[in-house]
């Protein structure tokens, strides 16, 4: 722990990352209390203040129907973070199980499991997600599903590569000769040695998942209005550029801060946990 703090402190960029992530998480959790207009996360209309530039009353301006952008961005962070956490909480374990079993068992298991992974990897990820969202109803749950389906194979590949090399390590043989079973060796011996890489990738991926989810809703395939979402807010405002610049710039900045924060933090974490590139 002390070592971790020292490494983070010696690397100012990752410290910036940690601070940005902390800010985003704080904003998301406490949105109902921080937001000046907590009701504006839903279908509220206030034409008296429609499409106003940033002011003392609305720090980031208001949208086309008069809702406070700052409040909506705070709520949009909630959606983004929940989406990212849920996607990774499903994609990472599923991919890890695939990769571990393929990497440790080898032979037929490896051939079958990794070919399934290859099929998923052969379709461009965003295309796969767009195709899925085209078929399914555009809801938050389905957006999560679509992103998860395109995401887990990357974990399978990562864990597979590590498990393949760990399989040759002496401690695996040592575990075999004291009679440990397949499941024990895969999950209790090899998995702990894959965890640093998995955790690092999850942190880096939080940013990417937020971008992909925003891309989907930018295309109108993600979370639907009136629920605030950073991607759809950017899309909505894009038609009014450059006059109503605040409609796109602030949600765009919000995406940037979140993605940037998670990436910097992930890089720092990689050093702390000693994961090779």
């Amino acid at each position: 722990m002390i070592r971790a703090i020292r490494i983070l402190a010696a690397n100012p960029l990752s410290l910036v990352g940690v601070i940005l992530v902390a800010l985003v998480v704080f904003a998301a959790i406490f949105a109902p209390w921080i937001a000046p207009f907590p009701t504006h996360n839903g279908a509220v209309v206030d034409f008296a203040f429609a499409n106003k530039p940033p002011s003392a009353r609305n720090w980031m301006g208001t949208d086309l129907v008069g809702r406070d952008l700052f409040s909506r961005i705070l709520y949009a962070y909630q959606i983004s973070l929940v989406l990212g956490v849920v996607v990774l909480a499903i994609a990472a374990p599923v991919g890890t199980i695939f990769g571990l079993l393929a990497g440790y068992l080898g032979g037929w298991a490896e051939a079958i499991l990794m070919r399934i992974v290859d099929v998923f990897l052969s379709i461009p990820p965003l295309v796969l997600a767009i195709a899925m969202m085209g078929v399914l109803e555009p809801t938050l749950t389905n957006a999560m599903l679509a992103v998860t389906v395109m995401w887990w194979p990357w974990y399978a590949r990562l864990v597979y590569a590590i498990a393949r090399s760990e399989r040759e390590e002496g401690y695996v043989l040592a575990a075999e000769v004291i009679g440990a079973g397949t499941a024990h060796i895969a999950f209790r011996e090899i998995l702990p040695n894959c965890l640093p890489a998995i955790i690092t990738k999850m942190t880096l991926d939080m940013g990417f998942v937020i971008i992909i989810a925003s891309s989907l809703s930018f295309l109108g395939l993600g979370v639907q209005p009136p629920t605030p979402d950073l991607g759809s807010m950017v899309a909505e405002g894009a038609r009014y550029l450059p006059d109503s610049w605040w409609l796109t710039v602030f949600p765009g900045l919000a995406i940037l801060i979140a993605v940037f924060g998670f990436n910097l933090m992930g890089d720092g974490l990689r050093e702390v946990l000693g994961v090779d590139e």
């Binding site: 390590e169 002496g170 401690y171 043989l173 040592a174 575990a175 075999e176 000769v177 004291i178 009679g179 440990a180 079973g181 011996e189 702990p192 040695n193 965890l195």
Partner: protein
């Protein structure tokens, strides 16, 4: 006295794309209770596969073709089901390897791995009992600060320390047979000598039989009661250590002994890679218990 391990006429082949590749051509080997037996030979002679068959690991490899009897404690290992074989490992049999540091999982402390080893024998063993037993075992391998070692990770300890930890773990469940596959070859010579002396005394105290696999004749001479010399899947000579070393009769044994570089210099000895007389029939000095 009955043999603890008795291997008779063991053949092993691996099925490859171009047919069966034979590795062992009918070897026979006996180890009595508490006896230290060495299996000596060059790389690729079939030493390590023999150990893997005794452990019952190769029987589970699909490409392996095994015939002959391997009896441990009166039971035929090849005839057992995989579960029964797995039950023997880590309880009645254990093994130590060349490189002690890589044999320990880098993600866990020594103490935690020790606990897992102990629970192989007795799953109900409590944390305190494990700690106590581990401390005692580490004391037996002359580790003076067992608590520091138990809380350390393998990479924080020296190779010699890890070797002692491995010996302590391997003997913790009081196995009847210990397989030592070139133990400590990855360590420097003086550390290797220390740990081998330790191991020798410990197995003598515990009454553990040892199958000691090595290519190092000097070490074998100090450690073993009896020696088998293996060459290309055949046992070429066997006998009590003293008899075999003072009167090596097989051409390959002689070549092996002359191959050891002298500390006094005189260059590296020349040893033919293959020679007609290396395939001469097995010579036995007797001495099988």
């Amino acid at each position: 006295m009955s043999a603890l391990l008795s291997i008779s006429d063991l053949h092993l082949g691996f099925k490859g794309l171009s047919g069966i590749n034979n590795v062992l051509h009918g070897i026979s080997l006996n180890i009595a209770q508490g006896e230290r037996v060495a299996l000596v030979g060059e790389s690729g002679s079939g030493k390590s596969v023999t150990a893997r068959i005794v452990l019952g690991l190769l029987q589970e490899t699909r490409s392996a073709r095994i015939s002959g009897a391997v009896k441990f404690d009166g039971n035929d290992i090849s005839a057992m089901n995989p579960k029964a074989r797995a039950a023997l490992r880590g309880t009645d049999m254990s093994m130590i390897f060349q490189d002690p540091t890589s044999s320990l999982n880098p993600a866990f402390t020594i103490g935690r791995q020790f606990t897992e080893v102990l629970r192989r024998r007795d799953p109900s063993m409590g944390a305190d009992a494990c700690q106590e037993r581990a401390t005692k075992m580490l004391g037996e391998v002359s580790i003076l600060d067992p608590n520091r070692v138990l809380n350390a990770y393998a990479f924080q300890l020296s190779g010699g320390m890890n070797q002692r930890v491995m010996i302590a773990m391997a003997l913790a469940n009081r196995p009847k047979l210990l397989l030592a596959d070139e133990p400590g070859t990855a360590l420097d010579v003086s550390v290797q000598a220390q740990t081998l002396t330790l191991m020798r005394n410990l197995v003598a105290d515990h009454g553990t039989a040892v199958l000691f696999i090595s290519h190092n004749l000097g070490v074998v001479r100090e450690f073993a009661d009896r020696v088998y010399v293996i060459y290309r899947g055949n046992i070429v000579e066997d006998g009590p250590t003293q008899a075999l070393f003072s009167d090596p009769r097989h051409a390959y044994t002689r070549a092996l002994m002359s191959a050891v570089p002298r500390i006094t210099g005189a260059g590296l000895p020349e040893v033919p890679e293959v020679s007609e007389d290396f395939f001469a029939p097995q010579i036995s000095h007797g001495g099988v218990a």
